[in-house]
Point group: C2
Chain length 377, copies 2
């Protein structure tokens, strides 16, 4: 029996929305797109209380509550629910799996209607703008003209910024967390090692492996590396203190240290739920993402979005200076920006773990805007 | 025609020394050990001017000068030569390939005399103490009772510390650079991802690939990751600034960015000169290395070694606090220690690149000791 806190949204279900003919940024046409999404809370009559939560690289639409029979809640359970940061008593929360994903939304592991087989690497390349365009279709479908807020951490934060660039009139506020306006060479390099690991696996077969078996070993190694970059030197020392008995002059190539065991476990757990081609497509979309350009909130267009930018002190994958660059850029574009660099030892994972500090910041930020919009003093 | 600076030691040759029956720390006996080594300068009559230079993870015995016909000098050319930091006018410099290596010294790719085939993973596991024990055999063979100094960066620094633990009476001074007394979980984790990448390659075949073809793709990915950890966020931005034309909505899975091209090149160049099993054995020896213990320079034994400890500010693989721990430990053991944390943006690679600052520090440090030993005022 799962013990659910009484502030959870409880049992939830993933829903699906399908539409035809998505024109991608590169002019390619995708004939058929399905979007997996979940919603929590109630959309009010004016339809002005909707918040879109964008997930990170390997996330999904299930950000809160429990799927029937599951022991584990959604990936941002601590943040979404009754009286939580994203308060489902007040707001209508939407979370969808990204385009190119493998958790219900159309991606390289989906069936290509032209061939009746999985796309594999015949799937067209996609951009962050395409990912957000699909979210916009979903919002339209739900009858929402303007989002109260778009929020997300890591790649979720990129989608937040992309919303502000692609559909500035359709969002009232935006919360990019532990994110960036564009990847640095180091961030691209880490992604590239992950991709090379997948592509080096002979079972990858240029992306056409769905009938023959997934490149699990290559993908697992990519994920192991990912986990190192999501943690910090300090958090790893706290979590996996080296024990005297682990040190030996008679080691073998099994896992001698707890940290090795952990990484192997996380690698093999990951490949059960994630598609290797999605790993390639989405990581490339991140590497090519770039809002540090003229068209992002141009002056003179009188766009007013309220921003809350959050970073974490021990995050070395998306270090605080990336968020400071966002703040600087937004200020130069005369936007309203609140910024906080939260103390944490968790590294990049902090956006999933520093629930208390994030809640304080986000609850107040949204609450003030809510009162403003609804004329509460 | 190669232009050689007139301060180079010029054309050099690798020499070989073979001995029987090395008893390893784990009691295993290696029947036949060959050591590849180079020497520069002249051993004086008292045989008290010898300096041993220990190489890093993937280095070799060729640290200075040029092999006949080669365009590229040894890996520490800037540091070893006439009037350089390790001044060959004054000192007799020795550098040898480590046990378990693949550049001339016995390792897993050597022939097992019992079978007539390569050892592969039948090679016994080795420790940093074993690596240093082989160096001691070489020093004995050269007729040297006490080294003037042992110096090295990264894993070279571990060997320096291991010398001070295993043979404290045989060294007058020691220079561990960008190193550590023991690996943290993060350092072990990075090594483990490299190992998993090698072992995930189907051509690895549990280490018995010498007749069928090397696990080049897995090893290349491991090396790509290594390179990221050797550089810094800043040095990567300087070396591979993102160009507008690299960003595209029409990317493919080739290398879109210069940094990807560079990593792929370094990966494929590496596998031509390095053995995958050596990668496994040596990285494990590093992970199990630990001198943070009672037996390291115990009080009451009246051991006096002069230490110069060097770290680099942007090194995040062996961050400065590791060197500070060494300094603290040595001070508690009442050793003479000089410490400098050099400003650099090169990351861990700085020990190979910050030649000017290292030269100033090392030249003075060795010069003072030289004068002291030789009664010069």
């Amino acid at each position: 029996m799962v013990i659910k806190t009484n502030r959870s949204v409880g049992i939830v279900e993933t829903k699906y929305f399908t539409f035809n003919d998505l024109i991608l940024e590169n002019k390619h046409k995708l004939p058929n797109v399905t979007v997996a999404y979940e919603t929590y809370g109630t959309l009010n009559e004016k339809k002005d209380n909707a918040i879109l939560i964008a997930h990170a690289f390997t996330g999904d639409a299930h950000c809160a509550g429990y799927h029937e029979g599951d022991e584990k809640p959604g990936w941002w359970e601590g943040m979404v629910g009754h009286k939580k940061a994203f308060d489902t008593d007040k707001y209508f929360i939407i979370c969808s799996n990204v385009l190119g994903g493998c958790q219900g939304t159309t991606g390289p592991s989906s069936i290509n209607p032209e061939t009746g087989k999985e796309y594999g690497t015949d799937f067209p390349v996609i951009s962050m703008a395409d990912i957000v365009k699909v979210q916009k279709k979903l919002i339209d479908y739900l009858g929402i003209e303007k989002l109260f807020c778009v929020a997300g951490g890591s790649m979720g934060g990129m989608q937040v910024l992309q919303w502000a660039m692609s559909y500035p009139e359709q969002i009232r506020s935006a919360i990019p967390i532990a994110s960036t306006m564009r990847h640095t060479p180091q961030q691209i390099a880490f992604n590239e090692v992950g991709r090379q690991s997948v592509m080096a696996d002979v079972t990858w077969k240029d992306g056409h492996y769905y009938q023959t078996g997934n490149p699990d070993r290559g993908l697992a190694v990519a994920r192991m590396l990912g986990h190192i970059t999501y943690m910090s030197d300090v958090s790893m020392q706290k979590k996996f203190p080296i024990k005297e008995k682990e040190k030996s002059v008679n080691f073998n190539f099994n896992a001698d240290f707890e940290v090795e065991e952990y990484l192997r476990y996380r690698g093999s757990a990951f490949v059960k739920r994630f598609d290797a081609n999605t790993y390639l497509y989405i990581s490339k979309a991140m590497d090519h993402f770039d809002v540090q350009k003229e068209e992002f909130l141009p002056l003179g267009k009188n766009i007013k979005i309220k921003f809350l930018v959050i970073s974490f002190k021990s995050d070395w994958l998306y270090p605080a200076y990336h968020s400071e660059n966002i703040v600087k850029y937004l200020k130069m574009r005369r936007q309203s920006v609140t910024y906080c660099n939260i103390h944490s030892t968790y590294g990049h994972d902090a956006f999933l773990l520093e629930i208390k500090d994030e809640t304080n910041l986000i609850k107040n930020f949204l609450g003030n805007l809510y009162n403003e919009v609804n004329g509460v003093k």
